[in-house]
C-alpha cells in the first residue's frame, strides 16, 4: 500500500497552488461583499486547465484521473482564497461535465465539451426543487416525449452557476409513478424558449459563486439532448453524486492545510505576557486536533478518489468522505477563529469568511443528515 502522490501529481499540486495565489485572490473581500462572480478568474482557471482536468485530450482537456483532480484542487484550495469561484468550478466539472462525459452521446460530447473546457461555456446542474429538497426522487419537474422532442415543465432551485450558465443538466420525471426509476436527465441550453433564470440569491457564504432558480415552461428539448436512456436519470444522478461527494471537498483540504499553517504561525508570534499562546495547552491541543482532522480528511479524500479512478462504485465511501471532510472543515474553521481570538472575528483576517464559506458544505451535495442516511442504508 502506497499513500504517496507521484512526482507528477506533486508538481501539479504545487503549480496549482502557485497559480491560485497569483491569479485568483485579487479583491476577494470586495467581491464577497458584493456577491460578485469573477469571469476573469473563471477564464484564468480554464487557461490553467482546471475545467478540463478530467476531460480527454480529444475534447481539449488534460485527460487526467480522479486522484490527479484531488491533488490539483487541493493545491488550488491552498493557494486560492476565492472559495466561491473554486466551488463554481467544482460544480461545473463534477455535476455538469461528468454527466456529459459519462452519459452523453458522441455528438453532445463533441458539441459541448470543448466549450465547457475552454471556459467559453459555463455549466449548471439543476436537481433540487423547492417542494422536495432532499427528497430528490419525489421531484415534480416532468418531461413528456412528443415525436422527436421532450416538453419540459417545472422549476428548480439552488442551481449553482445558473445566473451565469450557458447550459444546464436537468433531471426530470419521464414516468412519475416510477420515482427513481422514472427519472431522466437532459442537457438544456439557456436560450431554450420558455427557460427563465432567477436572480442571484444572496447567501451567507460562497458569495462569489452565483446561484438561482431555473424555471421551464413548455420547453422543447430535442430528444437527442437526453443523457443516457430514458429512465436512467436516477442512476446517472447517483454516478454524478459519487464524483461530486468524492471530490468536491478536495479544495477544502488545501484550505485546511493553509489555515493550519497560519494558526501555527500565529500561535508562535502572538505573545501574551512573555509567552506565545502556542505554549498554552488549550491552544496547542486545538492545533493537534486540527492536524488530525486534516490528515484523516485527506486519507478519506484520496481513498474516494482512488475508488473513482478505478471506476468502482463507491456510494458509501463518497458519502462518508463528504460527510467527514465537511464536518472537519467547519470544525477547523471554528478552531482557527478561536486561536486568533477577536482578530479572527474581524473581516480583515479572512477567517470569518472562510467559516461562512465552510458552513455551506453541510448542505450542498446532500446535507450531512442525508449522507448519514446513505451510509446507514448501505449497511443496515
Amino acid at each position: 500500500m502506497d499513500f504517496s502522490l507521484n512526482e507528477n501529481q506533486i508538481d501539479l499540486k504545487k503549480s496549482a497552488a502557485e497559480f491560485a495565489e497569483k491569479k485568483l485572490n485579487d479583491d476577494v473581500e470586495e467581491r464577497d461583499r458584493k456577491s460578485e462572480f469573477s469571469r476573469d478568474g473563471w477564464n484564468a482557471c480554464a487557461d490553467f486547465g482546471l475545467q478540463g482536468i478530467l476531460v480527454p485530450e480529444q475534447f481539449g482537456g488534460m485527460g487526467l484521473n480522479a486522484i490527479d483532480y484531488a491533488a490539483i484542487m487541493e493545491g488550488i484550495g491552498y493557494g486560492g482564497t476565492d472559495n466561491g469561484l473554486i466551488f463554481s468550478v467544482n460544480a461545473h466539472v463534477l455535476v455538469c461535465i461528468i454527466p456529459i462525459l459519462h452519459h452523453g452521446s458522441d455528438a453532445l460530447k463533441e458539441k459541448y465539451l470543448p466549450a465547457l473546457v475552454s471556459g467559453k461555456m459555463i455549466g449548471a446542474n439543476a436537481m433540487t426543487e423547492a417542494d422536495s429538497g432532499s427528497d430528490m426522487f419525489s421531484n415534480s419537474t416532468s418531461a413528456e416525449k412528443k415525436n422527436d422532442y421532450y416538453v419540459l415543465n417545472g422549476s428548480k432551485t439552488f442551481a449553482t452557476n445558473a445566473p451565469v450558465a450557458d447550459t444546464f443538466i436537468v433531471y426530470a420525471a419521464t414516468n412519475k409513478s416510477k420515482g427513481f426509476f422514472g427519472l431522466s436527465c437532459f442537457l438544456v441550453d439557456r436560450e431554450t424558449e420558455g427557460l427563465t433564470v432567477g436572480n442571484n440569491m444572496e447567501k451567507m457564504g460562497l458569495r462569489t459563486s452565483p446561484i438561482s432558480d431555473v424555471a421551464f415552461n413548455n420547453c422543447k428539448i430535442p430528444a437527442t439532448h437526453i443523457l443516457g436512456k430514458e429512465g436512467s436519470g436516477g442512476i446517472m444522478f447517483g454516478d454524478t453524486m459519487e464524483w461530486e461527494r468524492g471530490l468536491i471537498m478536495a479544495s477544502c483540504i488545501g484550505i485546511m492545510e493553509r489555515q493550519l499553517y497560519s494558526c501555527r504561525k500565529y500561535a508562535h508570534v502572538r505573545k501574551l505576557g512573555n509567552q506565545s499562546i502556542g505554549k498554552f495547552q488549550a491552544i496547542a491541543h486545538k492545533i493537534a486536533d486540527m492536524k488530525v482532522r486534516l490528515e484523516t480528511s485527506r486519507l478519506m479524500l484520496y481513498k474516494a478518489a482512488w475508488l473513482k479512478s478505478q471506476k468502482k462504485t463507491a456510494t458509501l465511501e463518497t458519502a462518508a468522505t463528504k460527510l467527514y471532510i465537511s464536518e472537519s472543515y467547519i470544525q477547523n474553521c471554528r478552531e482557527a477563529m478561536k486561536i486568533y481570538g477577536a482578530y479572527g472575528y474581524m473581516v480583515e483576517y479572512g477567517l470569518e469568511r472562510e467559516l461562512r464559506d465552510a458552513l455551506a458544505s453541510q448542505y450542498y451535495s446532500g446535507t450531512s443528515e442525508i449522507q448519514k442516511n446513505i451510509i446507514s442504508s448501505m449497511i443496515l
Binding site: K178, I235, T315
Partner: protein, 79 residues
C-alpha cells in the same frame, strides 16, 4: 451465480425471509429502492471483481436476477 445473487437479495432486502423469482421485477415492486440499487451494484462489483460503468446500466438491463446475471456474465467474458 443466479442463486448467489438471489440469496444476497433475500438476505439483504428481506432480512432472510421470503423468496425472489429469477424473473421478478425488483424495483417497481418496491423490493429494492434507489439506495438498494447502489448496494446491489457494490455487492456485484466486490463479489465478481468487476468495475461496472454506470453509463452501461439502465432500468432494462438491471431489473431482474436474470438480467443482472446476463450482464455480469457478459462483463466477465469481456474481462
Amino acid at each position: 451465480m443466479k442463486d448467489e445473487i438471489k440469496k444476497y437479495i433475500v438476505d439483504t432486502f428481506m432480512y432472510g425471509e421470503g423468496s425472489v423469482e429469477y424473473d421478478q421485477e425488483l424495483y417497481e415492486s418496491g423490493l429494492i429502492n434507489s439506495m438498494g440499487f447502489f448496494r446491489l451494484l457494490t455487492f456485484i462489483e466486490e463479489t465478481y471483481d468487476l468495475s461496472i460503468d454506470m453509463s452501461e446500466l439502465s432500468v432494462d438491463n438491471f431489473t431482474t436476477v436474470n438480467d443482472i446475471t446476463t450482464m455480469i456474465n457478459s462483463k466477465l467474458e469481456n474481462k
